[in-house]
């Protein structure tokens, strides 16, 4: 299609000579009014390529480029892009003699064949800018575009009402000391286009009342600002006074007021009781508990209930399950032999559960996971003796005293070796709320992390070894030799091994470009060279718990918040990044500080949240807050964890679940440590989104509704068997309540945790006219109740 320029080299030489003396070229005016007199490749052209989509991962930004032309992803490496665009293949992509005939421009404007189509037109400013650069000889000045400061103003876009448009302004400070307005050279997107839209030139338009993050990016720089769009109010509107219980209410309501958004009213007692019971212990309140709670007339009965629930053993089980997700308690990945894997998972769960029961401070809890060794400083003989005892118990069943071990070495013990970068990703997601994985291959597109950061952080874990330490070798070899004689097959051998810290770091990763050594470093923290006798994980831990650490405390309070509100202040909860700002930064910071000040007291933080009026608001929205999803102006209708779904279905039907050989007898789903159970209930756990715990993030827990869930509730054989069972709730109901309306009350309490409304009673009465037998009548009612959205969602 294009004839090759056969004398490129000559032309370049000529071009440089010629254009070196060329007169000043025309200026180019950008949409933001900025006039560019001296087009610079790194400062200007890379930005144009970025906003035109050329350097996307799906286009030329792909690792292998596209059609032979490679750009750095999102223009992070402007210097290399300069060589690709202007120099590679004898500069075939530009034509210094006839700039308009440059391959780059012909393709980008769709005049030449281009799989990516037309990116801009010949009469556009983008075209002019690139053309000018080529016309003046396509100069490259290495490092000219290095940015030292990136400022977006205003940081909060103060709309007066929907419909208004306001421009953003972006200024870059460069390493050469100059500054320039680069508003036209950035990329923009809105976190919620229903609230605020932003166009490609950085003009933001308020669509409807609410707030949205506007994310501005330019060559690896990412900044988020917030568009605040107050709701239109009727004339004479006066914002009502809203009672506040604690600082949470103060901060949340403050922001709502700015948006003219009025919080919903306080939840009713039954609504509150159902919500708080599901949230804290993963169960429905029983009809007796509901009646008792309604009868209690004391002013602090909600607080009393909260205290009671936070001490409930099921509350610890629920958090042990959540923490099992976060720490990756993936049964299949644990050590052989196969039949012990689910028991090891249960030990893991037990260990976590014990610490929640004791309300161990969060920093101590993490210390026990992050800095764990198998011996916890034990002498070799003592370790062997304890291991023997533990393994004897393990061979018998689920009983173990593992929870008494100071640290959770199971976290580090996996059948297949986990690479140091995997440990980096896992610990960053679990304890800092940061998703690092993008930086494995390239600079993180939405955050500050580079490949060097990624690998340096991974190297923090390069001393951790799983095997046998030199001082243990003799004893362990002897023990394993003995065990081997007893094991019929190799894969049935329960080997003694330990997690220990080596003095050197043979597994360390090297620099991605130079291949030189990389000193371990916390994310955005100090270097921590390997020192004999020092466990670098401990150094990392000390960095985490520093009161100025921006992630550690905030990421966990955000997880607690996310659990109790259905979405985090940063959401998803493990995605703290520059492109995903908190919906209410002040709230997150204050909660983080409070958490640190309390000595990382988890239960106190939970209580603070549960006591707040914000938590206790009704789910029923009003005119002003009906579209709110991120400012906590009403309680959110939210799905329950898969384990909780199973448990409440058992409760509602009155038939317990059987989890087979992978869980202790008489467990509830929330008490099961194993990430898979060999039982038909595994299907239900899977479709309701129980995570396999294989990935580094806890993003695996699927909280989206899905068709199979609805089909399960309506027609699954296993659930129908529970609903129709001969010895279930209906049987007791029919014998205990001879009066149909009382039985209906009881069944409503047992499922929806409230009494039926008048309309519902009438509907039931009408259904009764079908003259079904009493058992069928109430079985049908139970079916209908568990199939309501009110049953299956917490609210």
């Amino acid at each position: 299609m294009f004839s090759e320029n056969h004398c490129k080299v000559f032309v370049i030489a000529l071009g440089i000579v010629f254009f070196a003396q060329a007169p000043a070229r025309a200026e180019v005016t950008l949409p933001d009014g900025q006039v560019v007199r001296n087009v610079d490749f790194e400062k200007h052209i890379v930005g144009v390529l970025g906003r035109s989509g050329c350097n996307l991962g799906s286009c030329h930004g792909a690792f292998q480029g596209k059609n032979g032309f490679r750009l750095s992803l999102f223009g992070y490496e402007a210097e290399k892009d300069g060589l690709s665009v202007g120099r590679e293949f004898n500069s075939r992509r530009i034509n210094l003699n006839q700039p308009d005939q440059s391959l780059l421009l012909l393709k980008a404007t769709g005049q030449g064949e281009h799989a990516g189509g037309r990116r801009f037109s010949v009469d556009s400013w983008q075209y002019q800018l690139i053309r000018e650069w080529i016309a003046k000889g396509a100069p490259l000045s290495k490092g000219s575009g290095i940015i030292t400061g990136f400022h977006v103003t205003p940081t909060e876009i103060p709309f007066k009402s929907p419909g208004e448009s306001l421009p953003l302004k972006v200024v870059a400070n460069f390493a050469d000391g100059t500054s320039e307005t680069i508003t036209s050279l950035c990329e923009y997107r809105s976190g919620d286009e229903g609230v605020a839209e932003v166009n490609s030139n950085g003009v933001v338009k308020g669509v409807r009342g609410g707030d949205a993050a506007i994310i501005v990016s330019h060559r690896g720089q990412v900044v988020a600002v917030r568009a605040m769009v107050p709701l239109k109010t009727a004339t004479g509107f006066k914002y009502p006074a809203v009672p506040e219980v604690n600082f949470i209410d103060k901060i949340v309501f403050q922001k709502l007021k700015k948006l003219n958004m009025v919080p919903s009213g306080l939840s009713s007692d039954t609504e509150f009781l159902r919500r708080v019971t599901l949230d804290t212990v993963g169960l429905l309140p029983t009809p007796e508990e509901i009646r008792k709670f309604l009868e209690d007339k004391s002013a602090n009965k909600r607080e009393k209930k909260i205290d009671e629930l936070l001490k409930h053993p099921m509350h610890a089980a629920l958090w042990a399950t959540k923490l099992s997700d976060i720490t990756g308690n993936n049964t299949d990945a644990l050590e052989q032999p196969q039949n012990l894997k689910s028991r090891r998972s249960q030990m893991w769960h037990d260990w976590l559960k014990k610490r929640i029961v004791e309300n161990m401070p969060y920093d101590k809890l993490v210390d026990g996971i992050l800095c764990s060794t198998s011996r916890d400083g034990e002498e070799p003989e003592a370790f062997i003796a304890r291991t023997k005892k533990q393994d004897e118990l393990l061979a018998k069943g689920f009983e173990s005293d593992y929870a008494n071990k100071p640290s959770l070495d199971l976290y580090w013990r996996r059948q297949q070796q986990v690479t140091v970068d995997q440990w980096g990703e896992r610990t960053a997601a679990a304890f800092l709320g940061i998703r690092l994985e993008c930086a494995q291959c390239h600079k993180h597109p939405f955050d500050r992390w580079t490949q060097v950061d990624y690998r340096s952080y991974a190297n923090v874990f390069s001393q951790v070894a799983f095997g046998v330490s030199p001082e243990m070798k003799k004893l362990v070899d002897a023990e394993n030799a003995e065990r081997k004689t007893k094991a019929p097959q190799n894969n049935q051998l329960n080997q003694v091994r330990e997690i220990y810290v080596t003095a050197t770091n043979p597994r360390a990763m090297t620099h991605p470009e130079t291949n030189g050594p990389l000193i371990p470093r916390a994310l955005g923290g100090q270097e921590m060279p390997i020192e004999r006798g020092v466990d670098n994980r401990k150094t990392l831990f000390n960095w985490m718990i520093d009161k100025n650490n921006p992630y550690f405390a905030q990421s966990f309070v955000n997880r607690i918040w996310g659990h109790y509100f259905g979405s985090g202040i940063v959401d998803p909860v493990d995605d703290f990044s520059q492109a995903n700002p908190p919906s209410n930064p002040q709230l997150l910071q204050t909660l983080g500080k409070d958490f640190i000040q309390s000595g990382f007291n988890i239960r106190e933080m939970e209580k603070r949240i549960l006591l707040s009026r914000v938590y206790q608001l009704t789910y029923k929205p009003n005119e002003s807050n009906q579209f709110d999803e991120s400012n906590f102006s009403h309680s959110a209708i939210r799905p329950m964890m898969a384990e909780v779904v199973i448990d409440v279905l058992s409760q509602a039907t009155g038939v317990e679940e059987n989890f087979g050989v992978d869980a202790p007898k008489n467990s509830r789903a929330i008490e099961v440590g194993s990430s898979r159970v060999n039982s038909t209930v595994n299907y239900a756990l899977r479709i309701f989104g129980r995570p396999p715990r294989t990935a580094a993030c806890d993003c695996e827990r699927s909280m989206e509704p899905a068709l199979p869930q609805k089909l399960y509730l309506m027609a699954d054989t296993a659930l129908q068997a529970k609903i129709e069972s001969q010895s279930n709730r209906i049987k007791t109901l029919l014998s205990e309540f001879k009066d149909d309306s009382q039985a209906l009350d009881e069944l409503f309490l047992a499922t929806l945790s409230r009494f039926p409304s008048e309309t519902e009673k009438q509907h039931f009465a009408k259904y009764k006219e079908k003259n079904l037998d009493r058992k069928t009548l109430f079985t049908d009612t139970l079916w209908a109740l568990v199939n309501t959205k009110e049953f299956i969602f917490n609210h």
Binding site: S58, R189, S200, R686, A706, L711, A715
Partner: protein, 444 residues
């Protein structure tokens, strides 16, 4: 110029994806997206290939078949490699396959044998993931099985599920929805299609035997009276709207007799059933054909026993090849007779091949560096052998291709650009088959 660009390299504007990924709509989250993909497929845009097939039946040979003794025999190789079987002519001159698959020899004019596929993972789990997803497994990301991708990007048909699997491949490790989320997991078939009695059902989409449609209607009526709590209040709750939409869909599926009928194999002539083979595998293949007729997009059937570390020739000649020969040939011939082969792809593969070198137990061990697979129908060339392996069957000699390439070709035939970008729940854009390229020579 317009502030919104029409497309990028993928045929999509990136911001649309970001919005979908971050967006609120739950049901709406996937629906507009898939409708759009479908629309693109129909429009045959710059990158969107023409749609040649509507459905796929994947015939999974669990354990890793010794394809060197099936599709790519090496009679000239030294003893210790060439194996016990003789190659036999097929109805396509020049294509010879194992003497123990005489029925396949008679439908060779309807299939492509890909002899040059290879990969590098000789371990069951990850190799299965590789072959069923078309992406090399990584620790950082769980790729969805091809069936899950199909149910994500193609619009559902009323009353039937999109992706049905007869086997929980490797305990659910493979064949699942990976980063797409549980909504795109396969519907699992329960029951045993063994012998004459058929008790097949898809879990969750059919009413239990004692639960009648009348009773469902009754109960649903009662439910309607109890389910109005969120009705007035949450105009914007996607969860509520999504669940309502699923409720309608669920009723449609439960009321539809399409799936039920598909499993009623007694509606078939006895000789047809017999032709497929009366054992579980044969009957599930027949059920798979009926499911595709009913509108299901992707069906996986599976037969194990291919992990022949010992006595491989005995197992292959007595059991494995005769069974496969029977069923696979019947499936292809039946689809062809019914005019369905043009729009239905059949893909027969296992996780890897087996060592050309025969071990001391007269078996063959895991070998991923070379293997063969069979692809037929819906846009695949017919009567064609693609690529070759070297004289000892150790590695591809010509037309070497990867699982990614074959998967790309399958999606190309479905009218889906293999470079289509989807998003993980974390918003990370993932190209369907990043490393794959459509194998043009396989296209009819």
């Amino acid at each position: 110029m317009a502030s919104r660009m029409q497309n990028d390299c993928e045929g999509f504007f990136r911001r649309d994806f970001l919005r979908i990924g971050a967006g609120a709509g739950l049901l709406g989250l996937s629906l507009p997206e898939l409708l759009r993909l479908e629309a693109m497929a129909a429009k045959k845009g710059a990158n969107q290939p023409a749609k040649k097939a509507d459905s796929v039946i994947m015939v999974w040979l669990a354990g890793g078949p010794a394809t060197i003794d099936m599709w790519d025999l090496k009679p000239e190789a030294p003893e210790g490699i060439r194996g016990a079987f003789k190659p036999a002519d097929t109805n396509v001159p020049g294509i010879r396959i194992s003497e123990h698959m005489p029925k396949m020899a008679k439908v060779a004019d309807k299939i492509s044998i890909i002899r040059s596929i290879y990969h590098s993972i000789p371990s069951h789990g990850p190799a299965t993931v590789f072959m069923t997803t078309g992406n090399k497994p990584t620790a950082a990301l769980q790729y969805p099985a091809m069936g899950s991708v199909v149910s994500k990007v193609l619009a559902p048909r009323p009353g039937v599920p999109q992706y049905v699997s007869f086997s929980d491949i490797r305990g659910g490790l493979a064949g699942n929805s990976g980063y797409l989320g549980t909504a795109y997991s396969p519907f699992m078939v329960e029951g045993n299609p063994n012998g004459g009695k058929t008790t097949l059902r898809v879990r969750g989409i059919q009413l239990p035997t004692n639960f009648t449609l009348d009773s469902l209607a009754n109960r649903d009526d009662l439910l309607a009276g109890f389910d109005s709590t969120f009705r007035e209040t949450d105009k914007n709750a996607d969860l509520v709207q999504g669940f309502d939409a699923f409720h309608k869909q669920a009723l449609e599926i439960l009321r539809s007799d399409k799936t039920r009928n598909a499993f009623d194999l007694t509606q078939e002539k006895q000789e047809t059933r017999a032709r497929y083979g009366m054992e579980a595998f044969g009957q599930s293949a027949l059920a798979a054909r009926r499911l595709v007729e009913a509108g299901v997009r992707f069906v996986t059937i599976s037969i194990g026993g291919w992990d022949t570390h010992g006595k491989t020739f005995e197992a292959h000649s007595k059991r494995l090849q005769p069974t496969l020969d029977n069923t696979l040939s019947a499936l292809i011939a039946d689809l062809s007779d019914r005019g369905m082969l043009d729009r239905t792809m059949v893909y027969c593969a296992g996780e890897f091949g087996r060592t050309p070198k025969i071990n001391k137990n007269d078996g063959r061990d895991h070998w991923a560096r070379s293997m063969s697979v069979v692809a037929a129908g819906g846009g695949f060339k017919r009567g064609y052998a693609h690529g070759t392996t070297d004289g000892q069957g150790m590695a591809p000699a010509t037309e070497a291709c990867l699982p990614d390439d074959v998967s790309s070709t399958i999606f190309h035939n479905l009218g889906i650009d293999p470079k289509t970008e989807l998003q993980t729940s974390t918003g990370r854009p993932i190209t369907l088959f990043r490393e794959g390229a459509v194998i043009d020579k396989l296209l009819a």
